[in-house]
């Protein structure tokens, strides 16, 4: 995974829970441009743990002067976002990967409708700049519970295509109205909680939308769980802590595993399972339902295990 060493140029709180970080090249070089929807993986050296979290880029894809991300502090998470909020200061140097896009715009669309829930607004901040630059028709819907929590408000330009829905103010997003009034050839992109994505899919199905016109990205962080143990081919045992992913535990034990998105979407860390006595808790969007049921493969970036023993092909 090629990485860049970048300087933290700015740290700016946007709401009580969300902070914006800006990275620039220490020598002022132009960074590689990217496409809207791309993310970077940020490395966080946290004591004896090397954390790696993926964050969507929110800055202008055609502006190579810096990369910006918005990080929501997850107090119940594994610790990456707490590290970003508590420890990262302007002037620090951090390693980030080159941008990777698993949620790009379908440029065939006649119109793009972007639906972001909560912190799920982030990939759309870059996409809407790309759409403006390409002069493509779009509309963006941003849903948040309350104005205080709606960190995205500070990042959204004042445009007639942008609609903000604050449920506390009685202005809930009406998906039926949004999906029911679009011209043919429109594509819908949803990012946010699983419930929002499911609701868009259901509404789309009810209104006869083609599946290929509905795109979504769940911001999938490795969920914490109960500790478990895996066994390697050599017989070596690796303990996975409650707030650690299997991939992180393997990395801490210096077991080589390929990875890219660290969010269960890209397929890169797929690992074979040679024996499984128990149940794999599959959390990824990569394996098919049949593959998940067979329990012969696991995505160590997000999935966990409960039971007697799990042996990996590593």
């Amino acid at each position: 995974m090629s990485a860049l060493e970048l300087r933290v140029a700015a740290v700016e709180p946007l709401s009580p829970l969300v902070t914006r970080f800006r990275f620039e090249d220490p020598a002022g070089a132009t960074l590689p441009l990217f496409s809207g929807g791309a993310h970077i993986v940020v490395e966080m050296p946290d004591e004896d743990t090397l954390r790696r979290n993926a964050y969507s880029l929110i800055s202008d894809p055609l502006d190579g002067s810096g990369y910006e991300i918005a990080v929501r502090r997850e107090d119940a998470g594994r610790g990456g976002s707490r590290f970003m909020h508590a420890r990262v200061k302007p002037g620090d140097t951090m390693r980030v990967t080159l941008p990777i896009n698993l949620f790009s715009l379908d440029l065939r669309a006649k119109k793009h409708v972007l639906i972001g829930g909560g912190i799920g607004i982030t990939p759309f901040l870059a996409q809407l700049r790309q759409l403006q630059r390409l002069q493509m028709p779009f509309e963006l819907h941003y849903a948040a519970r309350s104005r205080a929590e709606a960190a995205g408000l500070a990042l959204l330009p004042d445009l007639p295509q942008i609609h903000v829905h604050i449920s506390d103010e009685g202005n809930r997003m009406d998906l039926g109205a949004i999906l029911g009034s679009q011209p043919l050839g429109t594509h819908i992109y949803t990012c946010g909680p699983e419930g929002l994505i499911a609701a868009v899919d259901e509404t789309g199905a009810r209104l006869g939308w083609p599946k290929g016109a509905l795109h979504s990205e769940a911001f999938l962080a490795p969920p914490p769980g109960t500790p478990f143990t895996v066994t390697l081919k050599s017989g070596r045992k690796i303990e996975v802590g409650a707030h650690q992913s299997l991939l992180e535990a393997l990395e801490a034990a210096e077991v080589e595993v390929d990875w890219s998105c660290r969010g269960g979407a890209c397929g890169r860390c797929e690992t074979g399972v040679s024996s499984c006595h128990g149940r794999i808790e599959h959390h990824d969007h990569w394996l098919s339902d049949e593959e998940k049921a067979a329990q012969t493969k696991i995505m160590p970036c997000v999935s966990r295990f409960t039971g007697e023993s799990l042996t990996l092909d590593l």
Binding site: G37, I100, D106, R108, C266, G267, R268
Partner: protein, 346 residues
């Protein structure tokens, strides 16, 4: 490095020739004495000095003649260059990649000056000077992909990435090993590979696709592919099969060394920044058997590879009809000695 560009043809009188230096730098595709498909991708991050792997886009003595041949093919059949409407941004990405790479790697041949979106491009071998506005197609004589691929050796496909697949949605294809852009345009990765025997059952395409969907910017990869072509013809297309197909029947034991060519493709794959598409240049190198056997290691190895190749592969690559004559010719250059590892000549 000084390059002299050959005055040569790839059709009609076939005056194409490889100089002694071009023979030594030929990308011989076999690193062992046998061949089977594999996901043989490696980083395209330079290579041995003087080899075709050294620079991002190899420019060699055939450059000017190849571009003239492309022009003839395009005039006869404009559908060799197509770009679906959503691929224009990918075309600009690719134009930038080629112009930046060539001007940095061959400063004596190519110059690119950029002032914001106002670009100034000089291509000395082809005598082209162009001022244009980046991302404004009205400032170029044709679309960005067509513009730059009329100045870049090899065929080029631009692959859109969506729905967990790659789609052949744009390309410039005039020097192909018997496939058609006009037929494949709009197809996905599995569809355009459907005619390839054996590889699908081996899971090659599934693994390759998964790898490519994760291809990173700044980390291009390459692989070599090969086939056999009678006469040094770039345009071995299905559209013109009536012109080159019958030439396969002209091979005799007397002329096989001169007429039969090994055709090697240096394929590279690049993630493009703004469009998230993948650029897939397929650069063709041709060399006659008599030039190949001038390097004893290659003569021995090519004999063993072609002699032992499974029938389906010889059939698919279109040289089954001439295999006995080719193998017989090459056998005279195979004394049974061991060959050294790797693709480079001894």
């Amino acid at each position: 490095m000084t390059l002299n560009f050959n005055d040569e043809t790839f059709r009609g009188d076939y005056t194409f020739r490889n100089s002694p230096a071009a023979i030594r730098r030929f990308p011989f595709p076999f690193d062992q004495d046998s061949y089977m498909y594999s996901v043989n991708l490696e980083p395209h991050a330079g290579g041995r000095e003087g080899s075709p792997f050294q620079n991002r886009f190899d420019v060699d003595e055939h450059y000017v003649a190849e571009m003239k041949d492309r022009e003839i093919t395009l005039t006869e059949d404009p559908l060799r260059c197509q770009s679906l409407p959503h691929m224009e941004l990918a075309g600009w990405d690719f134009l930038e990649l080629v112009m930046v790479s060539k001007s940095e790697d061959y400063p004596e041949l190519f110059t690119l000056n950029r002032d914001g979106d106002r670009w100034h491009w000089i291509n000395r071998p082809l005598g082209i000077e162009q001022r244009f506005t980046f991302l404004d197609p009205t400032t170029l004589p044709c679309g960005p992909m067509e513009y730059i691929t009329r100045q870049t050796q090899g065929d080029h496909a631009l692959l859109d990435q969506r729905d967990g697949n790659l789609w052949m949605d744009a390309g410039m294809v005039t020097s192909q090993a018997d496939w058609s852009l006009d037929f494949d345009i709009g197809m996905n990765f599995y569809e355009w590979h459907a005619p390839v025997p054996k590889a699908n059952e081996m899971g090659v395409f599934q693994r390759a696709l998964k790898f490519l969907l994760n291809l990173q910017q700044g980390a291009p990869v390459r692989r070599l592919n090969w086939t056999m072509t009678v006469n040094p013809r770039l345009d071995t297309s299905p559209e013109n099969y009536h012109k080159w197909g019958p030439e396969k029947r002209t091979i005799t034991p007397e002329n096989v060394g001169e007429k039969q060519h090994l055709r090697v493709e240096l394929q590279t794959l690049w993630r493009l920044p703004r469009s998230n598409a993948i650029a897939f240049p397929i650069r063709c190198y041709l060399m006659s058997l008599e030039d190949i056997v001038s390097q004893p290691k290659w003569g021995r190895r090519l004999h063993r590879v072609l002699r032992d190749l499974p029938d389906e592969l010889a059939e698919y690559k279109g040289f089954a009809v001439n295999r006995p004559v080719i193998v017989d010719y090459l056998s005279k250059f195979d004394d049974g000695a061991e060959t050294s590892p790797g693709i480079f000549p001894d």
